[in-house]
């Protein structure tokens, strides 16, 4: 059951989906224009990987934010990431203030 008590449908996560539940979040922003979530928020994520006919592999993160203090309904987004051929572009740099 999700925290809002709605029944989950017939299908459990299948096919290698990674389901992630995150609690104990510090309060913060859902958007950088000030839309806030509280410390009571729960983040539910589903991570899926798909491969398209042209060979591209994508990672999709479907996330659902539930926040009884700041949200009337769940806030759902889906974000996709294209798999790189190798790690040559991965060049993290320190934050600059």
């Amino acid at each position: 059951m999700l925290r809002n008590g709605r029944a989950i449908g017939a299908a459990p996560p299948q096919g290698g989906t990674l389901k992630v539940v995150t609690t104990n979040l510090s309060e913060g922003w859902l958007r950088k224009n000030g839309i806030a979530y509280s410390e009571s928020a729960t983040l539910l994520e589903y991570w899926d990987r798909v491969a398209f006919p042209n060979g591209d592999v994508w990672l999709i993160v479907t996330s659902v934010v539930s926040d009884p203090r700041n949200l009337v309904n769940d806030y759902t987004t889906s974000t996709h990431f294209k798999r790189e051929a190798d790690g040559s572009k991965w060049k993290p740099t320190p934050c600059r203030l």
């Binding site: 999700l2 709605r6 029944a7 989950i8 449908g9 017939a10 299908a11 459990p12 996560p13 299948q14 096919g15 290698g16 989906t17 389901k19 589903y46 899926d48 798909v50 398209f52 006919p53 042209n54 591209d56 994508w58 999709i60 479907t62 659902v64 806030y75 759902t76 987004t77 889906s78 974000t79 996709h80 294209k82 572009k89």
Partner: protein
């Protein structure tokens, strides 16, 4: 001492237990075909039901007022696609032939809705699930996804608003391939899609959430496939709206027969860039603009704008 009646009851009970055991064994055992090394049947997930769109993150793009003229950000359009998009004029939607035009398959799952119902097509003899229907799409361009292995039609077959779709199960995900779509659009500010486009979709259900990722591969107007994701929530109380009856009205009294509203070739639409302080070039789309490497180019152009005082 056991009577005949008691013996009969005990015998019947034993027979019933053996029959139940045999039935359970036959349900759980692999079929003879599987026993001969055939692959296990694919994992299927029940997608049937009513689904309500969830577009919190893209509300202003997907519902009214919709995307701005000249905002092609995020689209890997090529030069031909950009030229066609820049010449698109929204007045085209007011000509009689376009007023009741359905949404094409490459856009209909992405439009202001849709809130749709996914229904099952069950073969009356085998009772197997052989297809899904998606109803509730704009102007009745409802879709059918065939799951029975039938081939796609000849390349010379008619192209339709909903195209022709077949699906296969992959690890509990429904992979749908759609061909035979009409010349149409990917976004309702003129970004085009050709009849040669092929769309691949993955429908992935997570409890009461449905996530769909689509990839449109168009050799005419795109440099690389266009990828988008969208989500819906399961809503068993949803009922489909009646089909919108569109009354074709005369909205362009000055339009002469044969006139097609458009912007002439060479037109620029800098308003979106100007309003958001963006370099005009960055709003024109293109595959290079999709990737993190473009950030450096964006910074260069922004610095140049600041130097010129145009930002």
């Amino acid at each position: 001492m056991e009577t005949d009646a008691m013996q009969t009851v005990r015998h019947r009970t034993l027979v019933a237990m053996v029959a139940a055991l045999l039935a359970a064994t036959s349900l759980n055992a692999p079929s003879s075909a599987q026993g001969q090394g055939q692959p296990a049947p694919p994992t299927m997930v029940d997608l049937a039901g009513s689904w309500t769109m969830s577009n919190e993150e893209e509300l202003l793009i997907r519902v009214d007022p919709g995307p701005e003229l000249g905002n092609f950000t995020g689209f890997p359009i090529n030069a031909a696609g950009r030229q066609k998009a820049l010449s698109w004029n929204s007045t085209i939607q007011a000509v009689p032939e376009h007023q009741a035009r359905p949404h094409p398959a490459q856009y209909s799952m992405r439009g202001p809705g849709p809130n749709f119902h996914m229904g099952e097509i069950i073969d009356p003899i085998s009772r197997r699930l052989i297809g899904y229907t998606i109803t509730g799409l704009f102007e009745n361009a409802n879709r059918t996804i065939w799951l029975d292995g039938r081939p796609h039609p000849s390349e010379f077959a008619e192209h339709l608003w909903n195209g022709f779709s077949t699906g296969v199960w992959e690890n509990g995900m429904l992979k749908v391939t759609t061909t035979h779509m009409k010349q149409a659009f990917l976004q309702r500010n003129g970004i085009p899609s050709s009849p040669y486009a092929v769309m691949t979709e993955y429908f992935i259900r997570h409890g009461n959430l449905l996530m769909m990722m689509s990839q449109v591969d168009d050799p005419i107007y795109l440099d690389e496939p266009m990828v988008r994701t969208q989500t819906w929530r399961w809503n068993p109380n949803q009922r489909e709206q009646p089909i919108g009856q569109v009354e074709i009205a005369e909205e362009l009294p000055d339009l002469k027969p044969g006139d097609v509203p458009h912007y002439p070739l060479g037109t620029r639409h800098p308003e979106y860039a100007d309003a958001n302080g963006l370099p005009f070039e960055a709003t024109l789309g293109g595959k290079e603009t999709l990737y993190p490497e473009y950030i450096e180019r964006l910074k260069e152009m922004t610095r140049a704008m600041e130097k010129k005082g145009s930002r």
